[in-house]
Symmetry: C2
Subunit: 322 residues, 2 copies
C-alpha cells in the first residue's frame, strides 16, 4: 500500500532531501540527518496522507466530497488534495487551532467548521456532517490509506540512507496519533531493516511513549493546551499502535523549552521553519543524545505551520546562536 | 568553466529544488518558482563559488592557504571549502557584519580579521596579509572561478525549468557585486536562452540597476548601512558588469519594507529563512509584478544568514499572514 501510495503521489508530493549542519552534529555528538517535511506542500507531511486517501477513493465516492477533523495540518493536506481532485472538502477544526492553519485551510478551498476542543466531540460533529451530506471521512491517522501516504516519507528516508551508506540508525519521528510513525516504521521494515523508527513527543502528551513502555494504550491527562498543537491527540491510534509496538524503539519525550530551542536551531542552522510539534524529533536528537544509539540519527521535521508569535518566542529565547 | 565547476561541486554542493506556493502565486499574479540557496551549505549560494575557486587552485598553491574579504556569506563559503580541502583560511570581515556570520566563519575553522567598513580599506588590509603569508586571495565576485561556481545555480535552474516546460521567464537574482547574476546569466545563455537574468537590489544600493540603465558603471553613495548587508557593494564588478550588460534585463529595485515583507512570506509560505539581502528578488517578484513579463517568474533566495533581531522584526511587522 505504501508503494502504491508513492506511485499516486509521484509528481504531486515534493521529494524532500536529507539536510544536515556541522553545528547540529556537534550538539548531538553524532551526524544528524533532517527530513524537512515542513517543505512539503501545505507545510507538513500531512499532504502525503491526504493526497493518498483522496486519490484512493472511487471516483463516484470522491465526487460527493470529503470530510476531515484536524488541528490544522491534516486539514490543509486534505483540503489541497480535494481541491486538486476538483471535489469539495469540509474540515472540522478546534477553535483554538493556530489562526494561520484555519486561514490556510479556508484559502485552500475547504469549508471550515470550528468546534470547542474541551466541550464538544469532534467525532459526533463529524458523524452528523457525514450523514447529512454523504461525505467520506478521511481520518487523520487511523486510516490505512493515510498511513500509507505518510509511509512514503519512510521509503524516501530508506532510499537516501542507503545512498549515503547509513545501514544502522534510529529514525526519530514527531508523533501524535502515530500515522507518520507507523507508516515510516512499515516502510523501514521493508526497505531498510537496520533503521528503527522511534516516536517523539512533548512532556504532558507522551501517550505513545507510555503506551509502548506499558504494552497497553495509555491516554493523556490533558487533550488540549501545550505548545505542540499539531501532535496533541488523546491516545495512539487503534491501527497505528500495534504497528508501533511491533516495530518501533522506545519513545522519546522532550520539554517545551527543548522544543523551542530546536526550533531556533532549525532556523539558524538549517534555515528551516519548524512548528513546535514538528521540532520534537530534532529536540530529541539534540538533547537526548544518551538515549540514542549509533553514529547517525535521522530526524523528521514534520511541519512548519506556526504563528509568528510562537516563532518569535523561540527566537527571543534561543535565537542568539553565537 | 561553469560546467567544469559543476563537476567539481558534484557531491559537495546541495542540489537545491524549485519551490512554490499558491499563496505567493496569488500575490504575484503569476507562478513564482523559488530557488532556495538558503538551504545551501553555509546558508548561502556563496559556498558554490568558494568551493569552485578553492578546488580549482593547484595543490601547492592551495596548501599555503586562502584569503577572502566578505561581509559574511562569501567568508563562510570560502572557510568551509578551505576546511574541506584541509588548508588554512584567513577572512577579512567588516566589524558591523551580523554577529552570526562572524561566529559561523570562525566556527568553520577560519581566522577572522575585522576591519572598520567606513574608515579602513579592506583591499589594503588584504594586500598586506597576502604578501606577509603568501595566501591566495579569493575575490567575492570579480573572480572567474567564483563566478563559475555561482553559475552552477543557473545550470540547475535551466534544467528544472526545462523539465517543467518553462521556456520563457525572467530569473530574478539578488545582486551585490554581480557574481551570482553574471554566473546565472552565462549559464542561461548556454542552456535556456528563453530565460533572462535580472539583478535585484534594495533602494539606496541600486548601483547595478543604474549602471545597466546608463551603460556605465555607477557607484553607490553609501558603502555601508541598510538592511541588506549581504549585497552591499560599492559598484558592480569590472568582470561581472560587461556580462550583465550583454545578457541581463533591466534591474529591479525594492524598498526595505518590501524586503521585510518578502522575508515574512518566505517564512510563512515556503517555511524558509531568508536574510534581507537574500529576499530582494522575492520582494521584486511579489511587489513589482508590473515590471516583469510572462506567466512564470523564477527567483533566487540567495541566503538565510540573518540575526534573530532582524528576523523577528520582519515577523513583528509582516508575520501575521491571515
Amino acid at each position: 500500500m505504501i508503494r502504491a501510495a508513492a506511485a499516486r503521489l509521484h509528481g504531486h508530493a515534493r521529494r524532500t532531501p536529507l539536510l544536515s549542519s556541522p553545528f547540529l552534529d556537534q550538539i548531538a555528538g553524532r551526524r544528524v540527518w533532517v527530513k524537512p517535511e515542513c517543505l512539503q506542500h501545505t507545510g507538513s507531511f500531512k499532504y502525503r496522507g491526504g493526497y493518498s486517501a483522496v486519490s484512493a477513493l472511487k471516483d463516484t465516492v470522491r465526487a460527493r466530497g470529503v470530510l476531515a477533523f484536524s488541528s490544522g495540518n491534516h486539514a490543509q493536506g486534505v483540503a489541497l488534495a480535494a481541491a486538486q481532485h476538483g471535489v469539495p472538502s469540509v474540515i472540522i477544526m478546534p477553535s483554538d487551532a493556530p489562526a494561520m492553519k484555519i486561514a490556510n485551510t479556508r484559502a485552500l478551498g475547504a469549508e471550515v467548521v470550528l468546534y470547542d476542543r474541551a466541550g464538544e466531540s469532534r467525532e459526533e460533529l463529524g458523524d452528523a456532517l457525514q450523514t447529512e451530506r454523504n461525505l467520506t471521512l478521511i481520518r487523520p491517522y487511523d486510516e490505512p490509506q493515510v498511513m500509507a501516504g505518510q509511509g512514503t516519507t519512510g521509503l524516501e528516508i530508506a532510499e537516501d540512507a542507503k545512498a549515503m551508506g547509513i545501514t544502522q540508525a534510529d529514525v526519530l519521528v514527531c508523533c501524535g496519533g502515530g500515522g507518520l510513525t507507523s507508516g515510516i516504521a512499515l516502510a523501514l521494515e521493508a526497505e531498510a531493516s537496520g533503521l528503527r523508527a522511534r516516536p517523539c513527543e512533548p512532556e504532558g502528551f507522551d501517550d505513545t511513549a507510555r503506551s509502548l513502555a506499558s504494552g497497553w494504550i495509555q491516554r493523556n491527562a490533558r487533550t488540549s493546551g501545550g505548545l505542540c498543537d499539531a501532535i496533541v491527540t488523546p491516545q495512539p491510534g487503534e491501527i497505528t499502535f500495534p504497528i508501533m509496538q511491533r516495530l518501533c524503539g522506545p519513545g522519546l519525550v522532550v520539554t517545551e523549552d527543548e522544543v523551542l530551542q530546536a526550533m531556533a536551531l532549525a532556523w539558524g542552522r538549517l534555515k528551516l521553519v519548524a512548528e513546535p510539534g514538528g521540532a520534537v524529533a530534532l529536540a530529541a536528537a539534540l538533547f537526548l543524545a544518551n538515549a540514542i544509539d549509533g553514529d547517525d540519527v535521522i530526524v523528521t521535521i514534520s511541519g512548519g505551520n506556526v504563528d509568528a508569535a510562537v516563532f518569535s518566542r523561540a527566537l527571543a529565547d534561543y535565537g542568539d546562536l553565537d
